[in-house]
Amino acid sequence: MADETLRLHLPEPTTRPGMDPDASMIKVPPAGTLPKPPLDEPDDKMWDYALGMVRVLDDDHGAVGDWDPKLDADTLRKGLTYMMRTRAFDDRMLRQQRQGKTSFYMKCTGEEACGVAQAMALRPDDMLFPSYRQQSMLVARDWPLVDLMCQIFNNPKDRLQGKQLPVLYSVKGANFFSISGNLGTQFPQAVGWAMASAYKNDSKIAAAWVGEGTTAEGDFHHALTFAAVYQAPVVLNVTNNQYAISSFSGIAGGEQSTFAARALGYGLPGIRVDGNDFLAVYAVTKWAADRARSNNGPTLIELYTYRAAAHSTSDDPSGYRPKDEFTVWPLGDPIDRLKQHLIKLGEWSEEQHEALHQELEDEVKRDLKEAASHGTLGVRPCSPSTMFDDVFKELPPHLRRQRQEAGV
């Protein structure tokens, strides 16, 4: 047989700007089909979870199957409120950037269920190692928006003293680790944190997040290896929002397999979950957290969702994906889905929803007014006097000299 000529494969998405959006290649299994395994289920019995998708909310907005977390209506309304507050906050802060009051902002539109349901399923003292798109977790931990806004404005009330890019928060008070601008670096750190917890015979676990694009980084694989080797009490999460800036998930290896399936080669359970289904995200996260907390080891969760907004205020998606793609996204809008579920339960109404929406808009506006009264990046930023602090615990002589020369 003559040798075949080798061909180089280069992944390309099926649609581009100017084309009709198309989601026909996305296979969405019906809700309620996968059973909920015991907490000590061996990872090699969990292939179906990595390749399939856990879903609880069905097309008629009912909650079906084994994974239904059976949350009471108050908890569901609380989740809905957190998601809506997050969206109101995002919309308002995007406008601040457009008005030049800050340099940069990143929305999480479409991904609110991921952050809120996960934060609610974890305990408040579990340590979070978030990416930059998890503001909803801070909202769900009731962290004041004013504090976040002050960081975004780099004003004198910015606890990070103007040192960090807007939205790269650090909120130790909410057990929310300092966010790095370097992708993926915090994934293995979360494993280390969790191992320290185990070493200290503590009961607190850790959880970490990366985007699907970031799973290509070495740090993602370091985390999985170390988590598996030391059976660290950690929940590792991949938010698969289909895009990494301009590149579709195929560039990260999404053509070949699911991101949850990455776990299997390392000997960890991997579970893919409908990321726009509040109930499913809650249930899967709770399962993984309980598993970690009961010394049954780490889990990798893939949150299957869609980045409805631009990557950041520096980005314009009309340059790389069809307009209105979100409208054909088969998993819908997470806020709308929880709302419809509550309405179906007879626990919510369009009128209540509209009233809550208005209330949150007003609340965020009030918060914004307060934050901006302390100053914004252009007008009354924080003082550079602390610019040389915290490079080290104590200011070494060379930095003392430089500070003097800088005259700050």
Binding site: N154, G162, L165, L168, A216, D219, A252, C382, M387
Partner: protein, 338 residues
């Protein structure tokens, strides 16, 4: 001839090389269909196809490991690292592999790769979109390091980098992508179209690596700089009236020592300016060379003006950035010293 900004000049260099050499490939995060977050590769995938210009997974170590393998197998890869601040996951591939492949195989294998990466601050990028890590790489034997200061040089130097058979780091100071930034963020930026170095031939040309450029001849003091700082130094010289001889290094390694030595022996004074942090920065190397070669000609201690030894603070870019005021003070001081 066309009027180009630095982004267009870089794009033009890549375009020429894709056309001339079928072994040239371009890749990196978001560089393909989208054309790069700074638009340096815009239109190239459309013109040359996805095989010649494509997106990579987000894995800088993977990008440069792949580039080395391709380069060793006869291609001329031009990889983009989206921001110089994100080059560190590829550190091992650069330092242990690209830099040493030729040496450890006694010339059997080599990796003719070019690594393009935007560097420098002044765009409110915070600590992870502002760094100038060039000095880290000049410390590694086996890597060449280049930083242009204008569109004309950017194109000619980039073409030389791509044609070079050794690994080259090509740092692009993003603050001057659109115009020769004079160091005053509160003034309007002059566009490259109004600057003589914004006149760029559309066709192929190259500028050799290792040749500095005397941007402004002068007799009082030698001012050594590169990248954005060339324009800041021009401003400072104008403002102080000190007759500075401004040398734009263009290439840090190989270094044009002859040019530096001739100038410092003539002026007897020297100010070195870079945006990168001070301690163990490239300025330290320059001062050492100057001490060794010009000691008996020096009339004053050489001075460094650099970024402070802190991360680049988001809110205080202009307190951090070594602007015309600080450079001007150094010029005045070096002239006062007996």
């Amino acid at each position: 001839m066309s009027r180009m900004n630095m982004i267009q000049a870089i794009n033009s260099a890549l375009d020429n090389m894709l056309e001339r050499d079928p072994n040239v490939l371009i890749f990196g995060e978001d560089v393909g269909y989208f054309g790069g977050v700074f638009r340096c590769t815009a239109g190239l995938q459309e013109k040359y196809g996805v095989k010649r210009c494509f997106d990579t997974p987000i894995a800088e170590g993977g990008i440069l490991g792949m580039a080395i393998g391709m380069g060793a197998n006869g291609l001329r890869p031009v990889a983009e690292i989206q921001f110089a601040d994100y080059i560190y996951p590829a550190f091992d591939q650069l330092v242990s592999e690209a830099a040493r492949l030729r040496y450890r195989s006694a010339g059997e294998f080599w990796a003719p790769i070019t690594v393009r990466s935007p560097c420098g601050g002044g765009i409110y990028g915070g600590q992870t979109h502002s760094q100038s890590p060039e000095g880290i790489f000049t410390h590694v034997s086996g890597l060449k390091t280049v930083m242009p200061s204008n569109p004309y040089d950017a194109k000619g130097l980039l073409i030389s980098c791509i044609e070079d058979d050794d690994p080259v780091l090509f740092f692009e100071p993003k603050r001057i992508y659109n115009g020769p930034f004079d160091g005053y963020h509160d003034r309007a930026l002059q566009p490259w179209t109004q600057h003589p170095m914004g006149e760029v031939p559309d066709d192929y040309y190259s500028i050799p690596l290792g040749k500095a450029n005397i941007v402004r001849p002068g007799s009082d003091v030698t001012v050594i700089c590169y990248g954005t700082m060339v324009h800041v130094c021009e401003t400072a010289v104008k403002e102080t009236g000190v007759d500075g001889e401004i040398i734009d290094l263009r290439t840090m390694l190989p270094l044009d020592l002859d040019c530096i030595v001739a100038s410092v022996q003539k002026t007897g004074r020297c100010v070195i300016v870079h945006e990168a942090t001070r301690t163990s920065g490239f300025g330290a190397e320059l001062i050492a060379e100057i001490q060794e070669h010009c000691f008996y000609h020096l009339e004053a201690p050489p001075i460094r003006v650099t970024g402070w030894d802190t991360p680049y603070p988001h809110a205080f870019e202009w307190e951090y950035f070594p602007g015309p005021k600080r450079v001007g003070e150094a010029l005045t001081r070096v002239m006062e010293d007996a």
